[in-house]
């Protein structure tokens, strides 16, 4: 994680604090400030990759193959989200994800970019809007090489190698998922 200013008072560790930040006194935002708004490990794609590790099958000799060995990672995708405040009511949201990799899948590193703005329809209300875009972060499942003895060696979907699907057909079911690419957030808050 990285910070551009020394204003540690404005650091935040959860996304919920965005509201608090935007609702803070205008005096706080007089200088450009970068705040950490969220740090977390894991994501829907991480969960999906982990889910691929459920199950297994027997090889021809009866030995058990567990998917778990292929879909676990020593490092879980970490996401750091930051907010650089440009003006009293606007800021740039940005961040990154480290990605993660197991033997048979990879979540590539990601970069998040966006903005946050707010207005005050009335003295005691705040309307906030943010839009973020994520670049990268794709989950890609890798194939296995399966030997079927006399029937040949094929590149296959590791999880479906023992199914009734033709070996080459299993490749159609390799997971290739993108993270949520755009996120629009609208919030209206009234204080009374």
């Amino acid at each position: 994680m990285r910070e551009k200013s020394g204003n540690r008072v404005s650091f935040r560790t959860t996304a919920l604090l965005l509201c608090a930040l935007l609702g803070a006194s205008p005096a706080i935002a007089q200088e450009m400030t970068t705040s950490v708004v969220d740090i977390h490990q894991g994501s829907p794609l991480s969960d999906q990759a982990r889910g691929l590790g459920d199950g297994g099958y027997e090889l021809q000799n009866g030995s058990r193959v567990s998917f778990n060995q292929w879909y676990r990672a020593s490092w879980v995708d970490m996401h750091v989200d930051l907010l650089t405040q440009i003006t009293e009511d606007t800021g740039i949201l940005w961040g990154f994800g480290t990605g993660e990799e197991g033997e048979k899948y990879r979540i590539e590193p990601s970069l998040k970019l966006g903005f946050l703005t707010q207005m005050h329809p009335s003295p005691n209300s705040t309307l906030s809007l943010s839009l973020t875009t994520t670049i990268g972060g794709k989950l890609t499942e890798k194939p296995c090489e399966a030997s079927y003895g006399d029937l040949g060696t094929y590149s296959v979907n590791c999880r479906l190698a023992a199914s009734q699907l033709a070996p080459e057909e299993t490749l159609k079911y390799l997971v290739n998922a993108k993270p949520e690419s755009q996120h629009l957030w609208l919030n209206y808050r009234v204080t009374f």
Binding site: E58, Q60, L151, V156, S163
Partner: protein, 326 residues
């Protein structure tokens, strides 16, 4: 049986290989079996019954492997199973493959069973009394033979003047152009053995042929915790290594279907071959045959020995699984 069958120097007689209806616990009288299953001249061993066709549901008599095999949607598509059997006689018997009691001809039963195992396979019927050569369809072919050709014991198979029908089948098994699933027989003797002074010369002719599989019957489907044993009526592999290496067993759970006999073992292997063929679409009949033989299980059988069970109990799930993966 047509007239030209009798033109052979040594006449063989068709015998359908289903066993008499009886509970698995009731060991049959040997004489009764002989009379029913391979008597001299044209004999037909009548026995069990057969199921209704076209229903794609996993039945209790099937191995759990079958349901797992269907889960991915591949059920024998693109493969042709030709049932060489009785489709014309007036002999019918009753049974229930889980779709209601039916009364059908022997061939109608075996055809239905194969179709239930591999519902998307193309099933063709060839009445064995026509004696004409069995034709092959484009793609992978599986021939189901739930019958035997019996004659007085003591001849060599090459002394038999085969009809075009059996000659074509033997040729396919020799050249490896079709998987040939042959019911082992219901005389509780070694495949090709002498019983009542007669032998199944079709067994003898197929021995050592690359795509021939002899199929014996277990009284149930075996598991590692509930091992199965050879059905009381089933022929066994015997001491000939050429038979042992091409002999499989499958569960024929007559207590659930009312159908007994290796006649109902062979269609299961035919169906398995079709399912494997629908997965490995470029595989040759020899490769499919070897896959079935090489993946048979011995740990699901009571006191396994090659002379009884041959290669063991066919395992569809293992036949579909890789040898290794990385």
């Amino acid at each position: 049986m047509s007239d030209n069958r009798w033109k052979f120097g040594i006449a063989t007689a068709l015998a359908i290989l289903s066993a008499p209806v009886a509970s698995a616990q009731e060991a049959p009288d040997a004489d009764e079996m002989a009379a029913l299953c391979h008597g001299g001249g044209l004999s037909i061993c009548v026995s069990a019954t057969i199921p209704a066709a076209g229903t794609q549901a996993v039945q209790g008599w099937m191995s759990p492997d079958v349901g797992a095999a269907w889960a991915a949607g591949y059920k024998g598509k693109g493969v042709t199973i030709t049932i060489v059997d009785d489709f014309r006689s007036s002999s019918r018997f009753s049974g229930n493959f889980g779709v209601g009691v039916q009364t059908q001809r022997h061939g109608e039963w075996t055809r239905e069973e194969a179709g239930m195992i591999a519902p998307l396979a193309t099933i063709r019927s060839k009445d064995f009394s026509t004696s004409s050569a069995v034709g092959l369809a484009p793609g992978l072919n599986v021939l189901n033979l739930s019958y035997g050709m019996y004659a007085k014991a003591g001849y060599s198979p090459n002394q038999i003047g085969w009809s075009a029908e059996e000659a074509s089948i033997i040729s396919y098994a020799t050249k490896g152009t079709a998987v040939v699933s042959k019911a082992a027989g219901n005389d509780a003797v070694a495949v090709g053995g002498v019983t009542g002074g007669q032998q199944d010369y079709l067994d003898l002719a197929l021995t050592g042929k690359q795509t021939a599989i002899f199929v014996g019957a277990l009284s149930t489907n075996g598991t590692t915790t509930n091992k199965a044993q050879l059905a009381w009526y089933s022929d066994y592999a015997g001491s000939n290594p050429l038979v042992q290496s091409h002999f499989l067993v499958v569960g024929v759970d007559g207590s659930k279907t009312g159908l007994y006999g290796t006649s109902f073992a062979a269609p299961i292997i035919s169906g398995y071959a079709a399912i494997i063929g629908s997965k490995f679409t470029k595989a040759t009949p020899t490769q499919i045959t070897n896959d079935l033989l090489n993946t048979a299980r011995t740990d699901t059988l009571v006191n396994y020995s090659a002379s009884v069970y041959g290669k063991g109990e066919a395992s569809l799930s293992r036949a579909l699984a890789p040898v290794s993966i990385r």
